[in-house]
């Protein structure tokens, strides 16, 4: 199977370049990550992140044939050859398929991604009704792989100011949480032409999310809440 992988070693290379690989896959190599590990066994200079190999940790997000996705849950049989692999777009390349995710996580941290509740902690746990818990479905499953934010042009142009789809999905996850008491502060924090309103609903995020989540919908709900509290 033929691959073209964007390679870059900052110690050696002036700029990134494509390296071609033509490898014979074993029958057990069913996912793209298996193929990459096969390539790595031939060329151990190839650098990539991976961990759980089952779409839970979000480490092996990369640009696969022009679309962001997780290598571990992408079937090789469904890929067009040559398979063109690039690091996630928009973030600085550390080496080969590894990018510097500092800005992505800074934006994530900026939305205070934890439940804020000033009531005395109960003995066991803060209970939710099944209906309240249902609100979190489609929000809590995010694995922070950054596929969505790095496919978003608004995040490419303003990664230092726009929270990005992943961060905004997480923001709504806490806004929607019945146990959280900081809704107003969270809306204040996001009410900004750059932090939230750079989203123009082009929905690249929805298109690429490997977990099938819908950040655009969550962002729409945040905007709706802002209008509701003001009108």
């Amino acid at each position: 199977m033929k691959f073209q992988i964007l390679r870059f070693d900052p110690d050696v290379d002036q700029k990134p370049y494509f390296k071609e690989y033509d490898i014979a896959l074993e029958p057990s190599d069913r996912m793209l990550l298996d193929a990459l590990i096969r390539i790595k066994s031939i060329d151990d200079t190839l650098a990539l992140r991976r961990s759980c190999r089952e779409g839970v940790c979000g480490s092996d997000a990369m640009n696969i044939n022009g679309k962001n996705g997780l290598a571990c849950i992408t079937k090789v049989s469904e890929l067009k050859e040559p398979v063109v692999l690039k690091p996630l777009p928009g973030l600085p390349i550390i080496r080969d398929l590894i990018v510097d995710m500092t800005q992505f996580f800074q934006q994530y941290h900026s939305i205070t991604p934890y439940v804020i509740n000033n009531d005395p902690a109960p003995e066991k746990e803060r209970l939710q009704s099944p209906q309240d818990r249902l609100e979190l479905d489609g929000l809590y499953e995010c694995i922070l792989c950054a596929c969505c934010s790095t496919s978003c042009p608004s995040f490419w142009w303003n990664p230092d100011k726009f929270v990005g789809p992943a961060g905004l999905l997480a923001a709504y996850r806490f806004i929607a949480d019945s146990r959280d008491q900081a809704t107003n502060d969270r809306l204040d924090n996001l009410e900004d032409p750059y932090r939230l309103f750079r989203c123009h609903t082009i929905m690249n995020c929805v298109d690429v999310c490997p977990k099938g989540l819908n950040p655009s919908l969550a962002i729409g709900k945040i905007k709706e809440m802002m209008v509701k509290r003001a009108v």
């Binding site: 042009p153 608004s154 142009w157 303003n158 230092d160 100011k161 204040d188 924090n189 009410e191 900004d192 032409p193 750059y194 932090r195 939230l196 309103f197 750079r198 123009h200 905007k223 802002m226 209008v227 003001a230």
Partner: protein, 116 residues
């Protein structure tokens, strides 16, 4: 030394977001009405067109439409400038230029609609 801090948190946005949707709705309704006029009349001669715009209501609705277009354009173009033009002074200058241009367009629209 230049201050390199990147301040964020202007606390506005929802009104523009809302206005963009409302103005879009105004544009849609007016466009459908005008399209309806053309469909009803078949061929529209200059005299029909002139007669249509003798009506105060048509003039006011047209003005509303054009104001909606200009406000919608302002928010859209401002967003594009915010996305792509990084140097602050150039961005501000372009925004002021667009703003002034749209104000001139608005005044011109009034003068056209109420001219004979």
């Amino acid at each position: 030394m230049k201050n390199s801090k990147q301040p964020v948190g202007a606390h506005y946005g929802w009104k523009d977001w809302m206005i963009q949707r409302v103005t879009a709705a105004v544009m849609l309704v007016y466009s459908v009405l005008i399209l309806g006029f053309f469909l009803v009349h078949g061929t529209v001669a200059f005299a029909d067109w002139k007669q249509l715009f003798q009506s105060q209501l048509v003039r006011i609705l047209s003005l509303l439409f054009f104001f909606a277009v200009f406000y919608h354009a302002w928010i859209g173009v401002r967003d594009v400038l915010m996305d792509y033009i990084k140097p602050f002074f150039i961005r501000l200058s372009l925004q002021v230029a667009v703003c002034l241009f749209l104000i001139v367009c608005s005044i011109w629209t009034v003068s056209i609609l109420w001219s004979n």
